[in-house]
């Protein structure tokens, strides 16, 4: 994994599998969730947006954790590939966070009657989006790629430490200003027929992440190693 040529060869084999698995899980999960799962007695069919909203919200957070782990490895052990992973994962994580926000807002219109509610979850997702933006902004401001990797790694470690605090303080803030009456997703009350397709969708989204991450990472590796012989050999043949 550590050496770029090895990663490149290894990833060529794994990419098709990741793609196929992602398609299978997502199509089964979405088909089940959107067409077969029972209609919610309170919200009607509107709730079905949850099959996109919840997985992308989960992904938005776990990709950040993944990035922070990469950042820690990059700062402590100076492993180059972890820096590249961090860079490749950032736009994916930001996109998922954005999808979660947009779908949440679309969901909010029929249920709350407004596009935006300062709900604790939505608020912390919005802050997460800003943190992604800060990371990507810092990335684009440093010209040297290895340095940019390390700089963003350092910032992502701070993010790792501060995200639990943000969540907690947003919760407090909300109870201070408006006692929470209704939350979007309350999994215990969900029936198994609704819950099982959601699980498939979440796995499908993770697979999509793995798939796009590997593709991004391959591009990154090729881009940085373009002067090396092994890259030339691949593209000459």
């Amino acid at each position: 994994m550590g050496s770029p040529p090895l990663f490149y060869r290894w990833s060529s084999k794994i990419i098709p599998w990741l793609g196929i698995l992602a398609i299978i899980f997502l199509s089964v999960g979405l088909f089940w969730g959107l067409l077969i799962a029972p209609t919610d007695y309170k919200q009607g069919d509107v709730y079905r947006i949850l099959y996109v909203h919840v997985p992308s919200a989960i992904l938005g957070q776990s990709i950040f954790m993944f990035m922070a782990a990469c950042g820690l490895i990059n700062v402590v052990w100076r492993a180059k590939i972890s820096g590249m992973m961090l860079k490749s994962a950032a736009p994916i994580g930001m996109s998922f966070t954005l999808i979660a926000l947009v779908t949440g807002s679309v969901w909010g219109k029929p249920t709350w009657g407004t596009w935006w509610v300062w709900d604790a979850r939505l608020t912390s997702t919005l802050i997460l989006l800003f943190i992604y933006a800060a990371l990507i902004g810092l990335y684009s401001s440093i010209d040297d790629k290895t340095k940019a990797d390390r700089g963003v790694s350092i910032l992502s470690i701070v993010g790792l430490a501060i995200i639990p605090v943000i969540k907690k303080s947003v919760d407090w803030w909300q109870t201070l200003h408006q006692p929470s009456t209704f939350t979007l997703t309350s999994s215990p009350s969900m029936s198994p027929e609704m819950y099982q397709p959601l699980l498939l969708c979440v796995i499908g989204f993770y697979l999509i992440f793995a798939f796009t991450l590997t593709l991004n990472l391959r591009n990154e590796v090729i881009d940085r190693e373009r002067s090396k012989n092994w890259v030339k050999q691949i593209f000459v043949n």
């Binding site: 943190i131 933006a133 902004g137 401001s141 701070v158 303080s169």
Partner: protein, 243 residues
């Protein structure tokens, strides 16, 4: 004469070397003294954040109207937002001058451990931005009709909050060294949200006569964890500029 001249020299030399070596406290003292003299002679360093803070505060009554009830309920948020922005104003200058004139190199070669440098720089930044803001905040509280009982919680929360902002700001400054000044502020702002939320909560709770000590303890805990963590990460970030 049991000890000859040369022997005596060998005996006294380690002692002498020890005396001449700068301890951590000496270092702190030298950096603080040097930078405070410079900041004092260049008065814009501490006046700019102060004036900025007061102008932002004045904007709110001008924009929202001078009703006492409205302003006093908005006061905690207004004061806190102004304080956050003002303390980020001078962030870029924390390391940039030392970096440009080469003193930073000297610190990294001869200061061990290097996070003392960051700690000293954070203290100076707080002394020239946080402290003036802290003093000006009582003036802001008066013009925004914040009740007198909320003064102490406001000062306490600003004390903890601006110190944390100086720490965060130092990291932002180190990461964006030699780049645009606004970048360091943008990097830092999303991470300052918990400070803002807890700081305003302290003042709002005291307005409602509720117990606010929990928030102050949280802010203190953040500061206690932040000092070692952020100082170490800032050293890492500064060293990036030498690679």
């Amino acid at each position: 004469m049991l000890l000859q001249g040369t022997d005596l020299q060998i005996l006294t030399q380690p002692l002498l070397r020890f005396d001449m070596r700068s301890s951590v406290l000496d270092w702190l003292g030298i950096i603080l003294k040097r930078d405070l003299i410079i900041a004092f002679r260049r008065s814009s360093t501490y006046i700019t954040p102060l004036v900025f803070f007061l102008i932002v505060i004045t904007f709110f009554p001008l924009a929202l109207g001078p009703q006492e009830s409205l302003l006093s309920s908005l006061a905690p948020g207004v004061i806190w937002i102004a304080a956050l922005l003002a303390s980020l104003l001078a962030v870029e200058s924390i390391f940039s001058e030392d970096f440009r004139d080469g003193s930073l190199d000297d610190f990294f070669v001869s200061l061990e451990p290097s996070f003392i440098l960051v700690f000293a720089k954070v203290m100076i930044h707080w002394l020239i931005t946080g402290l003036p803001i802290l003093i000006a905040s009582s003036l802001a509280a008066i013009i925004l009709y914040l009740p007198l009982e909320s003064f102490v919680p406001m000062i306490l929360s600003l004390l903890l909050g601006t110190s944390f902002m100086s720490l965060l700001g130092a990291l932002g400054a180190a990461l964006s060294l030699g780049k645009s000044a606004i970048l360091s502020a943008i990097i830092v702002l999303p991470f300052s949200i918990p400070t803002l939320l807890m700081g305003t909560s302290v003042v709002t709770f005291s307005l409602n006569n509720q117990d606010y000590s929990g928030f102050l303890m949280m802010m203190g805990a953040m500061l206690a964890i932040g000092i070692p963590l952020l100082c170490l990460l800032t050293v890492e970030a500064l060293l990036l500029n030498y690679d």
